[in-house]
């Protein structure tokens, strides 16, 4: 079962991430029993069905618009953002917007090429769930990776998870 880090704990989540392969359409793709994380297009096409079913999350690609989910945020328990490559940093801005601009409070999960060396930045941008690709880390490595979340303990700047910059947070000696 895929493992992920949620709120700094290692947990399991059986819900698969649904990807539209070539030839499949949002309207017709079969949805797994027991929930899944579906692409934005599926959510937009089959909102009511998914809501009735429960246990669904939606994932966004880097070039998609978080605003498209703005009206649905209260109904979504999980939004995932896909990192096609770990060096593709668009997801950091999408996460920031979902949290800071649109006030999303549910689970925000990083999926795709998610590596421990980006954990600190991901968490500061508002991700509370980190799901490295299956098989990328052994159980021991994933446990060790938890440490990376705290790489920087007192960051300088504002981010979704750090509402004030250092100069407002603490009194700095001249």
């Amino acid at each position: 079962m895929p493992k992920l880090i949620r709120n700094r704990q290692i947990v399991e989540d059986a819900r698969p991430v649904v990807i539209l392969e070539e030839g499949e359409t949002a309207a017709t793709i079969a949805l797994p029993e027991g929930g899944a994380i579906v692409p934005l297009a599926v959510w937009q096409a089959r909102r009511d069905e998914l809501l009735a079913h429960g246990c669904f999350g939606v994932w966004l690609a880097g070039d998609q618009e978080p605003r498209d989910l703005a009206d649905d945020l209260a109904q979504l328990q999980t939004i995932a953002i896909h990192f096609p490559k770990f060096a593709d940093g668009r997801g950091y801005s999408l996460a920031t917007l979902l949290r800071s601009r649109f006030g999303y409070r549910g689970e925000l999960r990083a999926i795709g090429e998610v590596l421990r060396d980006q954990f600190n930045y991901l968490v500061r941008c508002g991700f509370d769930a980190l799901q490295p690709a299956e098989g990328r880390y052994t159980d021991t490595q994933l446990l060790a990776a938890l440490g990376s979340i705290a790489d920087f303990s007192e960051p300088y700047q504002v981010s979704a998870a750090v509402p004030d910059p250092l100069f407002r947070r603490v009194r700095r000696a001249a």
Partner: protein, 560 residues
């Protein structure tokens, strides 16, 4: 200069620990090459021709003597006894071992230094005016702003994986010595009609493969809002900059594609949400940072030192050095000294560990223990009493740091090029040295006056060839090293890009080509006309005609 508090120190100490663990995991095979690459680049570490190259940050070019001594120690212990100052005011070591880098970073952290974000697709070291705080034409001291921006950009979690590198420069003087028009964001400190401090903001400048002069996006952003405004620019870029083609990934391409007006609209739409938010700067923070940059304890001196005057009259060599390498200081009786790293025997910007130690001693004795690195790859002692200049000159001469050539033809800017850099098409350093050797007649050099030659070993333009009065670009011609020459580039308030004069030349031809260009200038110039002004007035034709007169053009012009 800025001194770390416990928070600053903790952040760089945590960085050392992080990179130590990353290096360990890489060497243990837990991190792939691809996964490790951005991590090491964001710590300034390249894998180069001979060995890794480590680029250490010198934030906006400022160093203390203590820091320079540490750089010398690192050069001796981990390198071949020298370092290379870059056009972005940083220092590079060409020979460290990968396994040693965590230890080098730990050493640097003991003197409040680091290699953070000196490479990679992130916000790079902020650059500025090497004469900040001492120049007579300064309106507003840029250094506190550079430091505020340094802190804001250090490990900014949203902007660590941008489409491409991102460079910010700040200028606060009438004359722009920070080349702000050639930066992703160029910030010019200004006052509005009400006397409030703010920034004129340029965006989308940059050299490289597609050189573009930055355009104005805002004529006045109040100082409190500068971080939120930069954040808005960066967010638009991070989301919409191209990631499919690294040659089209700089912000300049996005700005060009959208047009400055549409780009501005997007930034403003983003800024509406950020403006006034918690990133808004406070008086308290500005004062805290600015307190680190108050004037040192200058003593009251006569504007004109008699001993200095006498030496000027008695020694032609001293007078020549003062003329080129010493500038007026805002404080009477003080002077700004530029130590030249340029002569025919060394690579431009190279300084040995011994020289570093000397410079540190001079800084302690004569310049309040501080120094600066310039975009032109030289070293500045910014607060020297006129009465100490002669002693400094004598020692600098002994140490090989007193070439009286600042701003002259032999003060060549050059990137490391093919001797060190993997990306190079051709070598840069031997070309610089050959030209310097050709123009070794000081009287002639002074007669032809201010001429800037910039050399890059490839399109990446680390040697800023586009903005050299004479630009030299290494090109690859069927596997052989050739050089393309541009004329008429310039940096400063009216930055211009040079024009290619024609087909490229072999390395052996380059000193002749430069000689012919200079002879053409001497023949064409009006009285007292500077080289760049002659080129602007006549265009490149006369130069082209002369240079190609006895050469057979054998190739179509590349990138004309």
């Amino acid at each position: 200069m800025y001194r770390y508090d416990t928070y600053d120190q903790r952040i760089i100490d945590e960085r050392v620990a992080q990179f130590r663990d990353q290096t360990r995991r890489y060497l243990a095979g837990e991190l792939s090459d691809d996964e490790f690459r951005p991590l090491r680049l964001q710590n300034g570490l390249y894998i180069q021709r001979h060995a890794p190259m480590l680029r250490v940050a010198i934030p906006y070019g400022l160093l203390s003597s203590r820091q320079l001594r540490k750089l010398a120690e690192i050069a001796r212990r981990y390198d071949h006894g020298y370092g290379h100052f870059t056009t972005r005011q940083n220092i590079q070591y060409n020979w460290p071992k990968l396994e040693d880098v965590p230890e080098i970073l730990a050493e640097l952290a003991t003197v409040q230094m680091h290699a953070i974000q000196t490479s990679g697709n992130c916000i790079r070291n902020i650059t500025s005016d090497p004469f900040a705080g001492v120049a007579g034409d300064e309106r507003i001291d840029p250094r506190p702003w550079c430091e505020i921006l340094r802190q804001w950009s250090t490990f900014h979690p949203e902007f660590a994986y941008l489409p491409r590198k991102f460079k910010i420069a700040v200028n606060g003087a009438d004359h722009d010595r920070a080349v702000i028009q050639a930066h992703d964001i160029g910030l010019e400190l200004v006052r509005n009609d009400a006397g409030e401090t703010g920034f004129r903001v340029l965006v989308g400048g940059g050299l490289g493969r597609t050189p573009i002069i930055g355009e104005q996006i805002a004529d006045f952003v109040p100082w409190r809002d500068i971080l939120t405004y930069c954040e808005a620019i960066l967010r638009v870029y991070n989301r919409f900059g191209r990631r499919d083609n690294m040659y089209k990934a700089r912000i300049k391409i996005l700005v060009k594609a959208l047009g400055i007006d549409a780009f501005r609209e997007q930034v403003e739409a983003e800024w509406v949400h950020l403006r006034g938010g918690p990133s808004t700067l406070t008086e308290v923070e500005l004062e805290r940072v600015a307190a680190h940059f108050i004037d040192p304890d200058y003593v009251t001196l006569p504007g004109d030192d008699l001993g200095h005057r006498r030496h000027l009259a008695e020694s032609k060599a001293y007078a020549a050095w003062v003329k080129r390498n010493v500038r007026a200081h805002k404080q009477p009786g003080y002077a700004i000294v530029t130590l030249s790293t340029k002569h025919a025997k060394v690579a431009p910007g190279d300084v040995t560990a011994e020289q570093m130690v000397h410079i540190a001693e001079w800084a302690d004795a004569w310049s309040f223990g501080e120094l600066r690195i310039t975009h032109e790859q030289n070293v500045v002692l910014a607060d020297v009493r006129q009465s100490d200049l002669y002693a400094l000159w004598q020692q600098a001469r002994e140490a090989g740091l007193a070439s009286p050539n600042i701003g002259l033809l032999t003060d060549i800017i050059a990137c490391p090029g093919g001797d060190f850099c993997n990306l190079a098409n051709a070598k840069s350093i031997p070309i610089a040295n050959a030209i310097q050797a050709r123009f070794d007649d000081l009287d002639y050099l002074h007669d032809i006056g201010g001429i800037e030659i910039n050399i890059s070993g490839c399109m990446n333009a680390c040697g800023h060839h586009h903005v050299g009065h004479i630009g030299i670009l290494g090109v690859d011609k069927n596997g052989a090293e050739f050089y393309q020459v541009t004329l008429g580039g310039s940096q400063g308030n009216n930055t211009t890009l040079g024009k290619v004069i024609g087909p490229s030349f072999g390395a052996a031809d380059m000193p002749d080509v430069i000689t012919q260009i200079i002879e053409t200038y001497v023949a064409e110039r009006n009285e007292d006309e500077r080289f760049i002004d002659t080129v602007r007035r006549t265009g490149i034709e006369p130069f082209k005609t002369r240079v190609y007169a006895d050469r057979q053009p054998n190739r179509k012009v590349a990138n004309a």
